[in-house]
Amino acid sequence: MTPGFLHQYGSQIATLTLEHLWLTAAAMFLATAVAVPAGIALTRAPRFAPPVLAVANILQTIPSLAMFGFLLPLPWLGERAARIAILALTAYALLPILRNTWAGIRNIDPAVVEVAHALGLTGRQRLFKVELPLAAPLILAGLRTATVTCVGIATIAAAVGAGGLGELIFRGVASVDNRLVLAGAIPAALLALAADLLLGFVERRLRTPR
């Protein structure tokens, strides 16, 4: 990549990177807001866990291009490509967060939960003082997997016109210009790496000594 190329496309790369970040962040926010409470709810009503996890699993297996296509004709959503992209990314992020929240709470030493009951912690106190802190490393690991997946899948969002770094990649492929492909792919990879490192760091900080 020459300085001339960067001069020509630099500001576009920056804009698209921000767009990419926004799509991912919005989707992660929505997915966390849904999947963490849902995961907690599943630990309270365990018989619903298998079907709910199965649905999240199926969502995960829909090819991303097909998912964007499915959502396109929907009213309101279809009006803006970013809405479709965020919803699709949210769907992909649900499973890792949901599964890890559920497993993180279920894996807590039963003796610890038992003592929390016996000492007279209310359900809410048990959740916030014991269960969530002890499950936090696993929940964070789920967030991390989901974020990295989202950063990758967000490149496909350009196919429905939602922007993001995928736009450069699609344009590069169409015009057989590898420089454009790389201009999209390299920042996307760096974003994924940065998210992975940052969340990995937080996860290690949260890990309780035992």
């Binding site: 030493d109 003796a111 610890v112 003592v115 000492l119 007279g120 002890l134 000594p209 035992r210």
Partner: protein, 267 residues
């Protein structure tokens, strides 16, 4: 003294309908230690757990300070009762002092006050606060963890303590130290204690009354000297089994020692 806890014709069934406790009636004297002895599966832990509603009766009643526990909110009930179990009950993500002060914490006692009290209790249980308050449970030995467990049970200053095999996981020397410590603490703070154990020596050393359960039924409720002198065959068999060094927790008699027992057991 009035009964601090009273079991009235108490029966408990497991979720699959098996009878775990069968018609237990027993008053528990206030301000004294009552040991509940029995082999594994005799229902002694379940009996203890009915007191703080960790197990629910299928028939009969449990009264704590004269009130049927079924009429008391479980959260309020449990906060007023100290609870110590075998080793594993500390919160791994809390420091020692926060573990000790957890019951005052969930009752919104001011932080400075509850931590100061936690440090006093650590001293009382033989843990130097300056060295131990900030540690995490995994940095302690088994005996130290059990001291923290004791301090935690005392933190809300309950009248009643429930202890389920509190020293069962400790080596014999540490166990003896902990029994000494507990006896000292109980002579200092007057508490009603229900102590589940299968260790006859521990029961004799700590308790003013020994209750023996067998297969969910009450066999005997006697003072230590009455217990040792009791002609009741089940009491005799328990004492013999214990002194033979048989693992009474295993339940099944050791066939190789069965012959020797009968001779040794004769008075």
């Amino acid at each position: 003294m009035p009964a601090a806890v009273e079991f009235r014709d108490l029966s408990v069934r497991s979720p699959d309908g098996r009878l775990i406790l069968d018609g237990i009636s027993l008053p528990v004297e206030a301000g004294a230690t009552t040991a509940i002895l029995g082999r594994s599966g005799s229902g002694k832990t379940t009996l203890l757990r009915t007191v703080n509603r960790m197990a629910e009766p299928s028939a009969g009643q449990v009264l704590v300070h004269g009130r049927d526990v079924q009429t008391v909110d479980p959260v309020d009930l449990r906060r007023g009762i100290g609870y110590v179990i075998q080793e594993t009950g500390l919160f791994p993500h809390f420091t020692v002092e926060r573990n000790v002060a957890i019951v005052p914490e969930i009752q919104d006692c001011p932080r400075a006050q509850r931590l100061a009290h936690a440090r006093e209790l650590l001293s009382a249980t033989g843990l130097e606060p300056a060295a131990f308050a900030q540690r995490y449970p995994h940095q302690l030995s088994g005996g130290q963890r059990q001291r923290v467990g004791l301090a935690r049970a005392l933190a809300a200053d309950p009248d009643l303590l429930l202890m389920d095999e509190p020293f069962g996981a400790l080596d014999p020397i540490t166990r003896a130290e902990m029994q000494d410590l507990l006896r000292g603490l109980l002579s200092r703070f007057k508490k009603t204690v229900l102590l589940v154990t299968h260790d006859l020596d521990e029961a004799l050393f700590l308790a003013g009354r020994i209750v023996l359960l067998s297969a969910g039924s009450l066999v005997a409720s006697l003072t230590p000297s009455e217990f040792l002198a009791s002609p009741h065959p089940e009491v005799q068999s328990y004492i013999r089994a214990f002194h033979r060094g048989e693992r009474v927790t295993a339940g099944a008699p050791n066939p190789q020692e069965a012959g020797a027992t009968q001779e040794a057991g004769a008075p």
